[in-house]
Symmetry: C2
Subunit: 325 residues, 2 copies
């Protein structure tokens, strides 16, 4: 078995996203030694999703030259309601057929032959950026994960703030009272304007109402069944008007929602991550910073706004931090 000394303290990390499952194997210093990305199943149930997660982990372990069973353990960052002690996940609404409670940690532990810990996806990604990434210079920050939905994680005085277990839902900040319907069913949430899923629904609606756009042609051309961040980026690069309009609106709403959170918490920094956030990078972080400006109450001391520096593997690296060595 090819166990190198550098991977004797190796840990796995799986970031269970609504679209993809980025997965890593890191060494004792949290350096990525192997990585894999699998698409999230769009049908089936928790077992189908978990099987895909196990495959991704095996692939990342192989790339790192280590057997899954030889890992100290595997951490999972999951959406939905996560019970870290029980290792269960319920109400994962962005995942197929995952309303009921599923014993994800036990299922994966049996499949992989090592200990598995589950944590909140956004929280582990925030802690990864805080300890290892763009958040390192700061003691208080908000992590914004701009992707299929809009998630948030909070670090205050060097420690995660979880509230009663459900803190950080910045995507459900009301930025427009009485406004657009959010995928969560409520009205006027930030996610209703900036989440990839909500933006796709809006684009589809406008397109069906006769509005011209290349978004769906690009989607078909690239063999996708949804408007991935890459498709949006291509459409924007080609000057697609509808895409530009929807992104302008998303940026405006992100500016308002994030500024509101900063007015409330007066943190030192805002870290922009997530599938779209990382792909759009610095230029969009700057646009969001500019959109925050007019709403910041203490405008003489704005927070630093930075792109998540661990990129789209931040969530997986953060998940690996759940494993204590």
């Amino acid at each position: 078995m090819p166990t190198k000394t550098s991977t004797t303290k190796a840990r796995g990390g799986i970031d269970l996203g609504g679209t993809k499952i980025p997965t890593v194997v890191v060494d004792g210093r949290s350096k990525v030694r192997g990585e894999a990305r699998r698409p999230t199943p769009t049908s089936g149930g928790p077992e189908n999703v978990a099987a895909q997660m196990a495959e991704a982990l095996r692939e990342a372990a192989e790339a790192a030259g280590v057997e899954p069973g030889a890992l100290v353990g595997v951490g999972v960052g999951s959406p939905g309601e996560v019970d870290g002690h029980a290792g269960t996940v319920s109400q994962a609404k962005n995942l197929p057929g995952w309303a009921e409670t599923f014993a994800l940690a036990d299922w994966l532990a049996k499949k992989l032959g090592t200990a598995v810990k589950v944590g909140n996806d956004v929280q582990v990604a925030t802690e990864a950026e805080f300890h290892l990434g763009a958040g390192r210079p700061y003691t208080s920050l908000i992590g914004i994960f701009w992707g299929t939905g809009v998630g948030g994680g909070i670090v205050l005085d060097g420690k995660p703030w979880l509230g009663r277990g459900s803190a950080g839902e910045i995507g459900h900040t009301v930025v427009k009272e009485g406004g657009a319907r959010c995928p969560c069913g409520r009205r006027g949430c930030l996610e209703a304007y900036a989440g990839r899923a909500a933006m796709e629904a809006k684009a589809r609606e406008e397109n069906q109402a006769g509005r011209k756009t290349d978004l769906f042609k690009l989607m078909k051309k690239h063999g996708r069944d949804r408007l991935t961040s890459g498709i949006w980026e291509r459409a924007l690069a080609k000057g697609d008007e509808l895409a530009a309009e929807l992104f302008d609106r998303a940026v405006r709403m992100l500016g308002a929602g994030i500024a509101s959170a900063v007015n409330l918490l007066d943190v030192e920094a805002v870290i922009i991550g997530g599938g779209i956030g990382v792909r759009m990078g610095e230029p969009y972080a700057k646009r969001i910073e500019d959109a925050m400006g007019p709403h910041l109450f203490s405008d003489a001391s704005p927070p630093a706004v930075r792109v998540a520096s661990l990129g789209d593997l931040g969530g997986a690296v953060g998940a690996s931090l759940l494993v204590k060595t």
Copy 2:
């Protein structure tokens, strides 16, 4: 000099509000022994306001049967930018001619012959409710002070969260992106819809545009020069349509803004205080709670919503807590 034993550890507390200056003298167990309320000057500058504060304190001390100079000290809860160490206040925009830095603690200390401490008005009121009032059963809460403006204070894990010094500005949560102009100059803030000053400006505008209302008749009849909480209450009791409409809107926006803060922080409780909050009491706290409901992300575990139990003296009692005994 009539110094009773029960007031040998007496402290003063002054709550410098945009409309009134409620003031107390409390004993060693923070029980109110004397109180006074003076109107906030609407013209002049910091010295005029400070002179009125000194008068209020003298009056409260007299009611408590103690000389100001015999107090252990006096605490002041102030709006604007407060420097607690220097004892200065600047940028108090709701007060007349108070943009520059004024050495409030020194000025009052000389006038009263005792030590004076200055703190943020909303923060001291929040701590008063947390330690002595409606917030006592909880370890994390948000205090909402609904009056001339809309202020907020935060307690997390038993400790005030101040951020870099400016946390708690829930009144400047954007509840309607691109919405109404706020007295702070920004757009769509909660305070633009729910602050007494903004509601008065809107009522005046509607009235001048021909909309019927008894608000301004009631104001004149009661010898006021602005729409006090009492005038609004009278108009609502008489079924004034414009007053009801503006209060409905304020409640809706408070619901959205407070729910957003709860979605972010997942605190155990929300305490509603401030001039309007206390006067409108339980029925309106219930209405705000109902308005929050549709926006709460973790709707299975809503926070407790309570009226500030120290009433309109909470800010003054909280200010007295600044004095260490």
